[in-house]
């Protein structure tokens, strides 16, 4: 058992009431910061849609960046993460240290974490500075640097040729695809895709799942029954088909994919949150709040939600790798966004060349695999660190 005082330092044990005061200044730094940032984003959004000429880039300095729908979503997601995950950690160093101690025990997870920071950091900033992989019909099937393939495989060899073998060059460190697109660039853009899928989708799932789960648990009765029956249906309904159908019919944009993933996959999260919240609901502080005349919404927002946050975070950390795998599978089946060089898409593109140009499928595959592996390790460690039930 943990000592009683340590036990207090958890997300769920933050005294959220502490953070609210009455009247105007009831906004905490956290919420205020979040809302202010959202406001800035909203203004930029308006600027992008009203002022900036049709489809022109939103920013030209310091770099040209045409902010897409998905980028906006990503920015909002990142803000949410910063204000509701990073800020509390910063604000509560004792808690952070405790989590860190727990987390640090798992070596693999620490290594994975570093790897993921690298991957996602590169995915986040890389596309801002690196041009989209463009086709080069004169550089098809170039092997990665240090490797060589028979000249007949490549159309035109960019690197040095010796003994009928085409050698890779630093111009394309990881080689090129059949379209002459640099695999390294594709891989970096693929990181962005994985980042988007891995962050935005869980956020949508968490928001809807938590809302439904807590409302169901708190309201009970007919509301609970209806919501949970809906979840039953949603869980039973083969949403995989729904994705396929919609994506195929209305063209697979990554944005649509992410949104559909998000709004059809929250069922199990809602169930989990509900059962957790049901236990919490019986606890004294909720009863106390109720008898003090707190409104339903207040009780849910201020008491139930914070108290199931660990469950939700743990759940989300386990969702991320499977979502990334899912997106890859979709792209692989040719149902993803054909304009976005996601890993699955590159794997698929290289599939028929696997015997002559093995690197096309293999390299993004390795990145996909290691990223998912790292996410699983981190998720596992996170669960150990956060989940009180997992403690001895």
């Amino acid at each position: 058992m943990m000592g009683g005082e340590d036990y207090r330092d958890r997300f769920e044990d933050i005294d959220w009431d502490d953070m609210q005061r009455s009247g105007l200044d009831s906004l905490t730094t956290q919420t205020a910061g979040f809302l202010a940032s959202l406001g800035v984003v909203a203004l930029l959004l308006v600027y992008d849609y009203v002022v900036v000429a049709n489809d022109g880039p939103t920013f030209t300095t310091p770099f040209e960046w045409d902010v897409t729908q998905l980028d906006w979503l990503l920015v909002v997601t990142l803000l949410t993460v910063v204000f509701f995950a990073v800020y509390p950690l910063y604000d509560n160093p004792r808690m952070s240290r405790r989590y860190w101690r727990e987390f640090r025990k798992n070596r693999a997870a620490v290594v994975s974490g570093v790897f993921l920071v690298g991957i996602f950091g590169l995915g986040l900033v890389g596309p801002l500075f690196i041009a989209k992989p463009d086709l080069n019909v004169l550089a098809q099937y170039q092997p990665p640097v240090f490797l060589s393939v028979p000249e007949s495989t490549v159309g035109t060899c960019v690197g040095p040729v010796s003994d009928g073998m085409c050698h890779g060059t630093w111009q394309y460190p990881l080689g090129t695809t059949g379209q002459g697109k640099g695999i390294m660039k594709s891989v970096i853009y693929g990181m962005r895709v994985s980042l988007e899928v891995g962050l935005i989708t869980p956020l949508i799932i968490i928001i809807i799942g938590t809302a439904v789960g807590t409302v169901a648990a708190y309201s009970g009765g007919i509301v609970d029954e209806l919501l949970m029956r809906y979840v039953d249906i949603q869980l039973t309904f083969p949403t995989f088909f729904l994705y396929l159908l919609l994506l195929y019919l209305y063209g697979g944009t990554l944005f649509l994919l992410i949104v559909i993933f998000g709004i059809t996959s929250w069922g199990s999260t809602a169930r989990l949150v509900r059962s957790e919240a049901l236990q919490r609901r019986e606890e004294e502080y909720i009863q106390a709040a109720q008898s003090a005349g707190a409104s339903e919404f207040w009780v849910i927002r201020k008491h139930l939600v914070p108290n199931v946050s660990n469950t939700v975070i743990t759940n989300a950390s386990l969702l991320i790798p499977s979502l990334i795998l899912f997106e890859a599978a979709f792209s692989f089946l040719g149902l993803g966004d054909p304009t976005v060089p996601s890993w699955g898409q590159v794997i698929s593109a290289g599939r028929s060349d696997i015997d002559t140009a093995w690197w096309i499928s293999t390299i993004p595959g390795v990145f996909l695999f290691t990223t998912v592996l790292a996410l699983n390790f981190v998720g596992d460690a996170l669960r150990d660190a956060l989940d009180p039930r997992a403690e001895d």
Binding site: F237, F241, A329, I354, G365, F369, L373, N376
Partner: protein
């Protein structure tokens, strides 16, 4: 308990009905590429656009009111007349009957192996926590849940098919089912499916068993003189069976819904996954509807079975409350 089961069954029927209706609505709302191509062809050859469209709809009964079509569809569902597949020119039920053995051929061994081995290894890991074997098993499990099965399939074909020539590179549906060749060509897909599900089985059964490994009653059993085999099989496995039964259903569904697609597409197996993938790609309305139903039924029946299994497996659960 009877009341509970009755309610549970009633809900199963209602859920099926709702899902069927949803699926119908979805398909009715989506455009029909068969129509698009037919009309485009007629127009290219000098036909009239609207006329072509009308004759297409009339010939397929699409000119009937929506309600009529919905009614016919529902009646057809109940009477096992699932319609006619336009892209395969055969009754939908026949298409499914033709396809399922191919899926079963690799899914069943995969399911059995992954369940038996997965649970066994999971139990072993749980009872030998932090041992070298436990770490090895965990590493293997992480590998298994992280590797994308379609990619793994491609690698298998590359390495064992193309390079080493141990397995055939594409599926021959014409070899007899009970032949060495068939076994040989099923090894790779079975392995791919097994790997992905064994990993989750291992993780889950380890986690579940861990809850019981340190349980008082296991210590009691030890104190009674039960050997470790008996403790694991009787005192840990048996109570863990309740949560484990849930993952079995989940596992089957996962194979039917996800793995079957990828594995059958990669290996070219003409099973249910391929059938439904093609149906969706080619927008074969009747076939899509039917292939949506199969996993749905599996899910519904699976959930029902699972809930009922709880009544058998866990004497503590009381059904009066639900």
């Amino acid at each position: 308990m009877k009341w509970y089961i009755a309610r549970r069954l009633a809900w199963t029927v209602v859920a099926t009905f709702i899902i069927l209706s949803l699926t119908f609505g979805l398909m009715a709302a989506s455009p029909d590429p068969q129509a698009a191509s037919y009309v485009a062809q007629q127009v290219q050859e000098g036909g009239d656009f609207e006329e072509a469209q009308e004759s297409y709809e009339r010939a397929r009964g699409l000119d009937q009111p929506l309600w009529e079509r919905y009614k016919n569809y529902m009646i057809g569902m109940v009477t096992l007349d699932w319609g006619w597949s336009e892209t395969r020119s055969q009754p939908v039920t026949e298409a499914i009957l033709e396809a399922w053995p191919y899926s079963v051929m690799y899914a069943t061994p995969a399911l059995i192996i992954s369940t038996v081995l997965g649970v066994a290894i999971g139990l072993y890991s749980a009872t030998h926590r932090n041992s070298l074997e436990d770490y090895a098993a965990s590493a293997f499990a992480f590998f298994g849940i992280s590797i994308p099965d379609f990619w793994f399939g491609i690698l298998m074909i590359l390495i064992f098919g193309v390079w080493l020539g141990w397995i055939p590179i594409y599926y021959h549906s014409d070899v007899p089912w009970f032949s060495l060749q068939n076994v040989q060509q099923l090894i790779a897909p079975t392995l791919v499916v097994t790997l992905s599900s064994i990993a989750s089985e291992m993780r889950f059964s380890r986690a579940t068993a861990l809850e019981y490994v340190n349980a008082e009653f296991v210590k009691t059993a030890k104190a009674k003189g039960a050997d470790s085999w008996r403790r694991v099989t009787r005192h840990i496995f048996r109570p863990a069976l309740v949560p484990l039964s849930t993952i079995l259903v989940g596992d089957i569904l996962n194979i039917v819904l996800v793995s079957s697609y990828l594995v059958e597409v990669v290996f070219g197996i003409p099973g249910l996954g391929q059938l439904s993938y093609k149906a969706i790609i080619q927008q074969d309305v009747a076939l899509v509807l039917a292939t949506v139903l199969i996993p749905t039924f599996i899910a519904i029946v699976g959930n029902l079975f699972q809930d009922l299994a709880y009544t058998v497996l866990d004497p503590r659960i009381s059904y009066g409350e639900r």
